[in-house]
C-alpha cells in the first residue's frame, strides 16, 4: 500500500512538471502576431482585474487591452514613461500552483524549481485631469522591447531608450552570474 502511494505521488509530481518544461519551450517559440501581444495585466488598467490574461494591440494612437468581450485602452501620446524589465515566475502558478504545495515528499517545492522568464512592461501615463496612472503587464521573454518600440513610434515617451535598457539588463544579468 505504502509503495503504491509512493509510486502515485512520484507519478503526480513528474506529470505536473512535464507541462511546465514543455510550456516554456512553447512560449519561447511563440511569435507575436503583427502588432498584438499576449500579456498578463498585473495592475493599473481601469475595469480590468489583477493578473488577467489577454492581448494588447497598438491601434492608431491607443494601446488596447482585450480579454474576451472586455476592453480597456490607454492613449499612447499620454504615456510619460515606458519601461521594460526582466523577471521570472513559477511555471505552474495559480490555484494549481498553490495546491501543488500540498503534494507529499516535497513535490510542490520540486515544482517551484521550474520557472519561466518573463518581460515586464511598465507604463506611466496621465489622464485628462492630470492624474498619474501606472500600468504593469508581463509578456513572454524578449517581447517587451518590441512592444516598447511600437509605443515609442506611436508618440509615447521614455526616460531610457530601448538600447540602453537592453544594455542595463545584460549588465545586471552578468553581475548576477558573477555572484557566487
Amino acid at each position: 500500500m505504502r509503495q503504491l502511494l509512493r509510486r502515485i505521488s512520484v507519478f503526480v509530481v513528474l506529470f505536473s512538471a512535464w507541462p511546465a518544461t514543455s510550456g516554456c519551450a512553447q512560449e519561447q517559440a511563440e511569435q507575436p502576431a503583427q502588432g498584438s501581444f499576449k500579456v498578463v495585466h498585473v495592475i493599473g488598467l481601469e475595469g480590468i482585474k489583477h493578473d488577467t490574461k489577454g492581448t494588447i494591440a497598438v491601434a492608431k494612437d491607443t494601446l488596447e487591452f482585450s480579454t474576451g468581450p472586455t476592453k480597456s485602452g490607454v492613449s499612447i501620446p499620454s504615456m510619460q514613461d515606458v519601461l521594460t524589465g526582466a523577471d521570472s515566475e513559477r511555471a505552474i502558478g495559480g490555484t494549481i500552483g498553490v495546491l501543488s504545495s500540498l503534494a507529499p515528499y516535497g513535490g510542490g517545492r520540486f515544482l517551484s524549481l521550474f520557472r519561466k522568464k518573463i518581460d515586464t512592461l511598465t507604463i506611466q501615463y496621465r489622464d485628462s485631469n492630470g492624474g498619474l496612472h501606472g500600468v504593469i503587464f508581463t509578456l513572454p521573454p524578449s517581447q517587451g522591447a518590441a512592444l516598447k518600440k511600437q509605443l515609442l513610434a506611436g508618440g509615447a515617451k521614455t526616460s531610457i531608450s530601448v538600447e540602453d535598457e537592453a544594455k542595463q539588463q545584460r549588465e545586471s544579468k552578468k553581475a548576477k552570474e558573477k555572484k557566487p
Binding site: 498585473v42 495592475i43 493599473g44 524589465g85 523577471d87 513559477r90 498619474l132 501606472g134 504593469i136
Partner: protein
Amino acid sequence: MRRVPVTTIFVFSLIASLLADGLPLRAQSQPQKAATPQASGSLKASAIQIQQIQANEVKLSAEFQMALYENVIEEVSKTNKFEHVYRDGDRNAADASDLVILHSTVTGFKQGSGMARQVTTVAGATDIKVHLQFTDKNGKSLLERDVDGRVRFFGENLRATYDFGKKVAGVVRQNFTMASRASQ
C-alpha cells in the same frame, strides 16, 4: 523501533507548514507604529491625494514603484474614509476643502527570490520599507508612519506591494474619520 506511518508524517508536516505560514502573516498585517502617536480616528478629511512613491536613495525598479502607487490608491479607496481619492497631479484636488496629502518615500528595499522562497520557505523574502507622511495642503505634517511590505511564502516579488497597500489602508482606517461622519 516501531515505524511511523507515512500518512501521519504527511498530516503533521501539513499542519506544521500551515501554522508556520499563518503566524508570521498575521504578525505582518499589523502596521508598524512610529513617530507621532495619534488617537484612533482623530484626523478628519474629505479627500486625500496620493503622491507618487519617491525612491531617491534606494534603487527601486519602475514596476515596483508603480505597483506600490497603484496598490495604495486601490486599498485606500476601499477604506471609504474619504469622499475623493485623488491621484498625483490631479487638478481637481486643488478645489478640495480639507485635503490630506500622502507622501511616501522608500527607505529600504530587499529584492528576494521567488524560487528560494518557495523551495526553502525560510529564505528569499522580499521587503520594502516606506516612510509615510500625511500633510495638509500647506505642507504641515499631520501623521508619520513607517510601513513595510513583505512577501515571505506565497507569491512573486510584486506581492510585497499589495501587502504594503493593505498596511497603508490599515494606517488610514486607524487614524482617519470621514469628515461628514465626524461633523454629525
